[in-house]
Symmetry: D2
Subunit: 312 residues, 4 copies
Amino acid sequence: MDNFRTDLALERRDLYNKAHNIEKDIEGIETEEEKIDDKIGISRVKVTNEKGEQAIEKPQGNYITIDFKNLKIATVQEIENAAEVVTKELKALIEKHINLQEPILVVGLGNIYVTPDSLGPKVINEVDITRHLLKYLPDALDKNTREVSAISPGVLGTTGIETLEILKGIVDNTKPKLVIVIDALASRSIERISSSIQLADTGIVPGAGVGNARKELSQNTLGIPVIAMGIPTVVEAAAIAADSLTLLIKKVQEQGESNQFLNQLQEEDKYSLIKEVLTPEEYNFIVTPKEIDELIEKMKDIIARGINFAVN
Amino acid sequence: MDNFRTDLALERRDLYNKAHNIEKDIEGIETEEEKIDDKIGISRVKVTNEKGEQAIEKPQGNYITIDFKNLKIATVQEIENAAEVVTKELKALIEKHINLQEPILVVGLGNIYVTPDSLGPKVINEVDITRHLLKYLPDALDKNTREVSAISPGVLGTTGIETLEILKGIVDNTKPKLVIVIDALASRSIERISSSIQLADTGIVPGAGVGNARKELSQNTLGIPVIAMGIPTVVEAAAIAADSLTLLIKKVQEQGESNQFLNQLQEEDKYSLIKEVLTPEEYNFIVTPKEIDELIEKMKDIIARGINFAVN
Amino acid sequence: MDNFRTDLALERRDLYNKAHNIEKDIEGIETEEEKIDDKIGISRVKVTNEKGEQAIEKPQGNYITIDFKNLKIATVQEIENAAEVVTKELKALIEKHINLQEPILVVGLGNIYVTPDSLGPKVINEVDITRHLLKYLPDALDKNTREVSAISPGVLGTTGIETLEILKGIVDNTKPKLVIVIDALASRSIERISSSIQLADTGIVPGAGVGNARKELSQNTLGIPVIAMGIPTVVEAAAIAADSLTLLIKKVQEQGESNQFLNQLQEEDKYSLIKEVLTPEEYNFIVTPKEIDELIEKMKDIIARGINFAVN
Amino acid sequence: MDNFRTDLALERRDLYNKAHNIEKDIEGIETEEEKIDDKIGISRVKVTNEKGEQAIEKPQGNYITIDFKNLKIATVQEIENAAEVVTKELKALIEKHINLQEPILVVGLGNIYVTPDSLGPKVINEVDITRHLLKYLPDALDKNTREVSAISPGVLGTTGIETLEILKGIVDNTKPKLVIVIDALASRSIERISSSIQLADTGIVPGAGVGNARKELSQNTLGIPVIAMGIPTVVEAAAIAADSLTLLIKKVQEQGESNQFLNQLQEEDKYSLIKEVLTPEEYNFIVTPKEIDELIEKMKDIIARGINFAVN
């Protein structure tokens, strides 16, 4: 079994291919790259059968990763461009599952008091909701307005209740036809922190990336399609060390200083190796960039805007 | 019909007695005062039958108001004393309805982004919950530990979902035996802002005090007893003006300068009069003291501590 | 002596004219109104001599009040329009005192932890400063770039230091040619709360409007021109009551129910009367609208944008 | 020249000794360890002459590092114990330089909007200041009360003004006899993040640990003694990787799998090596633990309490 420690299908595909020393995708995995401009790129990974599922340990479905460059210094215009890309991809994914006016529930996972985990609740605060207006002030809205509601259910550690237990009741009582879930993820690479969004129509397992998996939120458990918008905001110390070691060995080899041990190490899963070393020392911290406050603010603007134009 | 514009049974009793020019409580209303120390006082209002219900428009049950003096400059010790009083009263109310180990759900109503409405969510963040530990780490806890869970469901304006719709599902799925609801209220008097707590075992109608009533949270709607902890955090401009006018007329009368019109005005419901004047001018603002941030912090400490010692 | 309890020259002029029962401005006061659109109006009060100074107790100079309607529900476009008006008025005022490239220091008074007093520090966080870049990275900027620096000095209650003592040293050491000071004010009317900006080139007395005057910040004390941007964010309970009483008496008189006492009261300074009644009761709270968090956010956007386009 | 990338004298001493393969301190450096209890330890490094200065590139003076274990889950009692240790050490350091009643200025460096850099401003908000009371309400205080003032001057990036330029004027105008500066530092090891405090009576160079050095704050520049309280809150990715690699090689060697290259690598400065590899890839992020919000809150409580009991 591969130890991916990332929620991104794209990174899992890369790790799988590397681990098995293959260049082309295996059967069951289809990938595609698109470059929007010099700041924004899109990667599409499609898992089409059980073989693909087993390879990257992600259920069959569509995984779209949108990467932004230099988000930290993005201008207002660049934020709006990014949101537009999110809108286009999200809208297409929604239309695969429901009709134009069918009701949507937007769910922001996470903890408002923990900066790298606060993205979900912050997005919810800016989603344009219509459900209460359609109910109490229907004349104030265009008659084709889609019913949109939103909830930020908190985290198990402060509620004592599984997210699924909370959402199950809300879905039963308010009857949306599709759920969009926003969640902060763990990434394998620090460069992706608050600089990537993964859209997937296969649901989500909250906390999976940080080794603290909760009950999955998906069509299986909620009875309606679940689109997950996952944003990497943290990374393990072991992942940073593993990536650094990869770069180090590469450089050492370039300088002709290598030797059998390093060559062999280059082939291995350095992440697992380092994790094994760090864990007993209680040293495998989960970290986030120093600038996380600002990264979260910018990502929140992109996602809220992206959702608002996609659903309304 | 009286126009109370207050959620506090105590204030309604006072307004009713004044409006009907009576000194002693009518049949169906029983009241009692207790002075804890020179900073803390308790008033108990019991509505015992339908006559009492109709008089003050509050359902039959127990209403306990705890008043704190000078909360703004309270010391850590005074905060702890206040919390102790809350614990004692809350514990007694809980024990009227459920047994020692029966599960409790604590609900913090309100909007974290609106300071005078942020008390509920802030308390939830500090409630000691046990439900997830009892489920996943039972050995870590004493075997008599009560199951406590907590949720901050947001407000209709940001979720589009009635609080009742959210809670109904959670109660069905997690099966608590009693709900404690924390809500920010409107008061009739600015002195009570973030300086009083009303405990009631009759449930709550969120938003009632600001003329924006939602579906009630009570045994009727949730199927289990609901203890409401209401904390006044806002007051209408009309209430401030009415109270000021009362004081003004009183002074004018003392100075022998009064006249028939003022004497008559003194008997009247100045609040309704002023509200009528202010409303068409869009001048009947809802206000909160300048120091609301600090008042909310202190009240949060009292309530969270008060609950933690009462339920665990 | 008139008891104005407002920092706005415009309100003082109105109160003075009313108290002295005059309709036209006295010599020494010149006023002018301008309507930008149906949301934004400008009032200009010019105090031209000592007589004017004594009348409204404000030093000679220019006082420009910009009023915004319905700021609470303003769109992004309306915020930008409002900022443009601020830019135009501020730029004109700056150009009366210094040349295009002379350095400016922007000062945000107030306390970040007290919502109605947090505007100044929040604006400082969004002012585009250039002084450090001109010093350390001069090639990164256009050579005509004005030197802009900014400081949020805190309040006497948390620093123990008079704002003047802090600014004096900074002005001496960094040598700006003009200071722009942003401060939260008390208004006489709740409608103006976070809906008006007063620009004045006469400096400012921090805390004056709430009866807690500090040493003035002005050309007299700092040695360079001081433009004050004052934004009402709080109002006294007595002012609310006085305004309400005025409306009430007016209505009573319209209904022919009046009498000599009320007619006389109508002429009087109800604010002083009510203040006198409320103060011994410790009831003269300073209040702010329930929506103050959002009002401050929007006003911050207007002022920061207004300044950034005016100074750069 | 050694490349320390840490502001902690203790870590520099360790790095120096390791780099030069020595076990005992060189002449000019004296160290001492003290264990308070199983949670708190103190290390004292004294730099006594120029040789010591050159070795660890820190000026002559006293460096006291207090380490806390498991701060993340510290109880209220443990926080108070930690504050008591800070008080004792800080008081001793203050008494080396000034008398009991001589005035102190407390300076909180950092940016309130950047969580890992917000410690200084947050502490300032909780320091008990007396200077304004001694000036305006002297009778309210005991006559031996020390004059304490406090300021949070902001950062160069938002003010455009060097901290030294701001403090110089304040010191000149308010005449304290000693300055205490609180600053967030970079550490070489992630374990120390928000778990250590370094006290030093040699002043501070803001931003030094993150390669962004500002003008030093010290007796040389301010004319009075400067006690620095430095708290590590961030760490470089390269430092994490270097530490991980050290652990990895150690393990490999234990397993007898080592070889000449690794043995040689073990002796080298892996940090510099990795930094060299990461920097051209723009991969040398500065990171902070996921739990930084809570760590900062707890550290703020320790430091504010520690200072308040030390100075008053």
